[in-house]
């Protein structure tokens, strides 16, 4: 069974994203939301880890939370897809389990 991992904490203040990426399995998806969207930034100390994970793991970012924080496409890792709330629901439908990382 595949898992939708929800990460809502900024990687600048929490190890949730790192721990999530270490535990996620093939076929899982990760959604970065709320302050978790900072995990999609390029040029940061964790960017490489996220980019490498994105090569085999479906990592998405919640677009309304990017907009709320004024983050534009040029500051983000280009390989991560964006979703809105409908896309969030779709991810929840596609994966049998969900796990909220804190």
């Amino acid at each position: 069974m595949s898992v939708l991992h929800l990460v809502n904490a900024s990687p600048f203040e929490s190890a949730a994203l790192s721990r999530c990426l270490a535990r996620a399995g093939e076929g899982d998806a990760v959604l970065l939301l709320e302050n978790g969207v900072y995990g999609a930034l390029t040029g940061c100390r964790f960017s490489r880890e996220v980019a490498e994970a994105a090569a085999w793991l479906d990592i998405r970012v919640l677009a309304p939370d990017l907009r709320a924080r004024g983050l534009c496409a040029s500051s983000l890792l280009q390989t991560l897809g964006q979703v809105d709330y409908d896309g969030f629901v779709e991810l929840a439908v596609r994966h049998e389990l969900s796990l909220t990382w804190t």
Binding site: E34, Y85, A92, V93, S98, T102
Partner: protein, 129 residues
């Protein structure tokens, strides 16, 4: 086709709307799920999440308790507060009764309802800070 599947969701909310975005995210998720034809069997408010139910005398139009009430009215949502969490935060009496602090549409319950709904659900999501 995955997009055409209709699912039964249960949602747990563990954060107060005053100090974290989680409850608002849950609200937006539920609205989108309903708009896509899915069913929400239960929204369970646990820990500081019970504060979502509190009517504030100085709330503006962004007040989340009012928006929960409206959504519950419109879609017949079951909004359940954990009685123990609500008692600890002074929202309900020691006997577990509403003292007039709860917004319309919320009811007092317990983990029994949560477990029961989880057994019937296709998907379970937790929103926390």
């Amino acid at each position: 086709m995955v997009g055409a599947l209709i699912m039964k969701f249960v949602i747990q909310i563990d954060a107060s709307p005053h100090e974290a975005q989680a409850a608002n995210t849950a609200y937006q998720f539920i609205k989108a799920a309903l708009a896509n034809g899915h069913h929400i069997l239960l929204v369970f408010f646990y820990y500081d999440g019970v504060c979502n139910a509190q009517v504030s005398s100085f709330a503006g139009k962004d007040d989340l308790s009012g928006r929960w009430s409206a959504l519950a009215r419109e879609h017949g949502l079951d909004l359940v507060l954990c009685v123990s969490a609500a008692q600890r935060r002074g929202l309900v009496s020691a006997e577990g009764k509403d003292q007039g602090l709860l917004a319309p549409g919320f009811r007092i319950g317990g983990l029994g309802q949560w477990v029961d709904a989880c057994l019937k659900a296709d998907r379970i999501l937790t929103f926390t800070s």
